[in-house]
């Protein structure tokens, strides 16, 4: 049962993240703390155990499905924000376009050459 013990590892790291947040009052999610802890652990061990890979790969592949139930909620608040939507949409679309351009332009400038692999 390698996938199951890998899954237990992931859950344990998430729970450790909860404890860390409770103790330190950091405004971060336990998932992110667990992700960083997992990365550090793997770096110390120097390899990815088969059990972790067996649990992590399918979960990562399903990430899009896991955020769907929350995302669908937006279609049910459309009525509540009548008249505000155009401003919100313009702000989000234009703002995202500008910030994507800034990010990529900045990275290209900082790294110098974009074709090095």
């Amino acid at each position: 049962m390698p996938a199951l013990s890998g899954f237990l590892w992931l859950i344990s790291y998430w729970l450790i993240g909860e404890v860390v947040i409770h103790v330190t009052a950091l405004p971060i999610s336990s998932g992110v703390i667990g992700m960083l802890l997992l990365c550090v652990t793997l770096a110390i061990r120097g390899r990815v155990p088969g059990s972790i890979a067996a649990a992590a790969q399918p979960l990562i592949a399903l990430l899009a499905m896991l955020i769907m139930p929350g995302v669908v909620g937006v279609f049910f608040i459309i009525g509540e924000l009548a008249g505000q939507w155009s401003a919100i949409l313009i702000a989000l679309v234009l703002g995202t376009l500008l910030s994507v351009f800034t990010t990529l332009w900045l990275l290209k400038r900082l790294i110098g050459q974009s074709h090095v692999q």
Binding site: L37, L38, I52, L59, A64, V72, V74, L89, A91, L92
Partner: protein, 241 residues
């Protein structure tokens, strides 16, 4: 009619109905996405979300009831986020190679990701509540919900802003990459994760594992940076109630 609604009531006593509905929408959405030759302007998650919303409206299932059942799936978001530590570790050498430009870029880009949209919404006369709800638009959902509650925004509107931002990030990145002549998948992945949180990261994993790892990195760093600094900046600007 009363027969129909009692059948629906019977089915929704178990979370398996909401889980089944979500899986169906996801699989059909993915199938359609492949059939349409994977358009970058219409990601699979948007097709699936539209199908799911349509199905809920059609059978008259209240969103709150659906959401309660779907908790059985969304609880996996925790371990799935932890799982992102694996590609992060596997790409560590390539990330370390670029640590300096990434470390300089991140605070500027993550701050601007929030700032641009807030400034535009403010100029268009949006209320403080709306500004507080969209401020965390580029942050991954579990962190963004915490930030939004702290700022006094509406979580439902935040999730809508996350969907729109995530979906629009994908064509924006393709456009900007073409315009700036960038084909390095590390940069493209980082930009996808930084601006488009989980939705951008999912897209990056479709491109390549390297792009995916850089997207996970961009997503988590943006989340941490924004979670620490946005509530502080909000208080300094006197926006809080």
């Amino acid at each position: 009619m009363s027969n129909d609604s009692s059948l629906l009531a019977l089915l929704t006593t178990t979370p398996l109905f909401a889980v089944g509905l979500t899986l169906t929408a996801y699989l059909v959405g993915n199938g359609l996405f492949q059939r349409l030759k994977r358009p970058s302007w219409l990601p699979a998650i948007l097709i699936a979300a539209l199908l799911l919303a349509g199905a809920l409206a059609l059978i008259g299932l209240p969103y709150a009831t659906y959401q309660q059942g779907a908790t059985w799936l969304t609880v996996l978001l925790g371990p799935a986020t932890v799982a992102l530590g694996m590609p992060l570790y596997q790409q560590l050498p390539r990330i370390v190679e670029l640590w300096r430009p990434l470390a300089i870029c991140l605070p500027i880009a993550a701050a601007l990701a929030a700032f641009y949209s807030l400034a535009i919404a403010w100029l268009l006369g949006s209320s403080n509540t709306i500004l507080a709800s969209i401020a965390a638009k580029s942050v991954t959902a579990p962190i963004a919900i915490g930030i939004t509650e702290q700022l006094g925004g509406t979580v439902a509107l935040l999730l809508g802003a996350l969907l729109i931002t995530g979906v629009i990030t994908i064509p924006c990145v393709s456009l900007a990459a073409r315009f700036l002549h960038i084909d390095d998948e590390r940069l493209i992945g980082f930009a996808l994760g930084l601006n488009g949180h989980a939705i951008g990261t999912v897209r990056a994993f479709e491109l390549s594992p390297t792009a995916g790892a850089f997207a996970s990195l961009g997503m988590s760093l943006t989340g941490i940076f924004t979670a620490v600094l946005l509530p502080l900046a909000w208080r300094l600007l006197g926006m809080g109630g």
